[in-house]
Amino acid sequence: MADIAELRKPLEAFEEQVAPATRVRGYWQSVLYRLRHDPVTLAFGAVVLLIVVLAIVAPLVAPFDPYKESIVGRLKPFGWHEHLLGTDELGRDMLSRLLYGGRVSLLMGVVPVLIASIVGGLLGIVGGFAGGRINTAIMRTMDVFYAFPSVLLAVAIAGAMGGGIGNGMVALTMVFIPPMCRVAETATTQVRALDYIEAARATGAGPIKIIRYHVLSNVLGPVFIYASSLVSVSILLASGLSFLGLGVRPPMPDWGLMLSTLRQSIYVVPFVCAVPGVAIFVTSICFNLVSDGLRAAMDVRI
């Protein structure tokens, strides 16, 4: 039992003598710190940045007009007349079409994931926080869409709507909303059961304030990690849709579409025909590895 004389001392006696040992570093700062010291992720992140920059400045960098056809210069191999990567079946420069095609591919990779994160994330947070019947209703609806394999669903929606870049993006967004919703709902349900949420309720905070100040900051992490891993999937799916004729319409350059139209010509210039696939592969794998690195940096239990 404590000494009774202790109690008579003024409150200064309770001053905490032990200071915390670590430097002040918030969560996001520690994430950046880990990333800075991860060479693999940084390297691939640089490649991603390069791809993005090239796509943006394509009009400035492309050596030729991607739409300019040439009857004479069709299906020429690497290096023919300054066409570094050859020409396609209509005589257009492959390199320029690759650069321009990157814009479309990146767009169709990022935009659907972004929209799906917002919509799916919101639905998941609402469902996870509300619980009960609302949650069941939302999740069961998502389960129906989960019952379709993703390629099939994308093809179904894009196919029914008639193709085109807009419809393709709509289709991909619909494919990604259910998994994003699930990730957000799981995270929200976990957070909701914790004590600090109850403490916030005990001060009289309503659900909106609680979500804004306590739930969001803890759910954003998992959602972001998952979204970053979806970008490479989206790029692959988008190119697949274009390959089937459901995405971009000719003559607009798009990597998947280029692979499709060049297929007939593999007996003539096989390596030129394979080039768009290399672009898809490189972009996709870089996004994949960067996303893995982000997950490693962010998913640490503190």
Partner: protein, 318 residues
Amino acid sequence: MSFYILRRILYAIPIAFGVSVVCFSLVYIAPGDPLQTVMPPDATAETIAIVKKAYGFDKPLPMQFLIWLGRVLTGDFGMSISTRRPVFLEVSEALANTSLLALFAVPLAFFTGYVMGAIAGCFPGRWVDRLVTGAAVVGVSLPNYWLGIVLVIFFAVEYMLLPATGMGPTGSTGFHILEWSSARFLVLPVITLSMIPVGILSRTTRAAVAEVRNQEFVQTLRAKGLSEWAVTRHVLKNSLPQVMAVMGLQFGYLLGGSILVETVFTWPGSGFLLSKAIINRDVPVLQGTILTLSLVFVATNLVVDLLQSLIDPRIRRA
């Protein structure tokens, strides 16, 4: 235990219902008049009127859905616009051909992926692990149809070892699986189709094996004096359920992903049928194929879940 089975089966029914609703509405998100989408362009006015009544396009939406559902349950999926044959027939023939691919792709993918992942999981951190993990990442980042094209370039164009497209020298009708002249058409499509499942399965297996190895009972087994090989057998057995669950999902991928691969190899399966239907704007075929494929997927997931609950008793109580 049978209670769980019953519950699981009952749960699949509203999902199947939801799937049919989505498929039904595909016709309605198509641009233009839904009636026009199911009719060939040269239909006469009286044919249109007959079909309109039969399909019930003049009735309210929920009514149309029920009519459609009734027809579907009796096997009437409508008529293909391009070939004028019943959709049901087209789909079942195509599905049979795809199943042939899946029949070979599934064991190949499972075996290869599992072995790769198991080896990587048993030697974590070593070069074998890095190699397998790297191969898995490559596998899921590669567009599989592009791999198909590359394989065709390599084996068919440059070296002429295997055929580039088609199913058999005389098409699907003359296909004899036991003869090499037919069977050689299977090789490239099957390999291409297994690529992504191999990537995903090896990653999953590796994670499962590594996780099980770290559990305490493994150390107990070693302490009891079991040989390393016997311990490994236990580890593999325990990691199997997790892998099987993912395998079930991969079957669904094969159903969907077959679209791209079959298009590349002109294999007359359900995927190719879908691809043709898209080009021809043949909505009845589109609808029928998607409905069939997704219902097969739902059924597969159900079977996999039930099998899992038989193997892993922990799941039954959930």
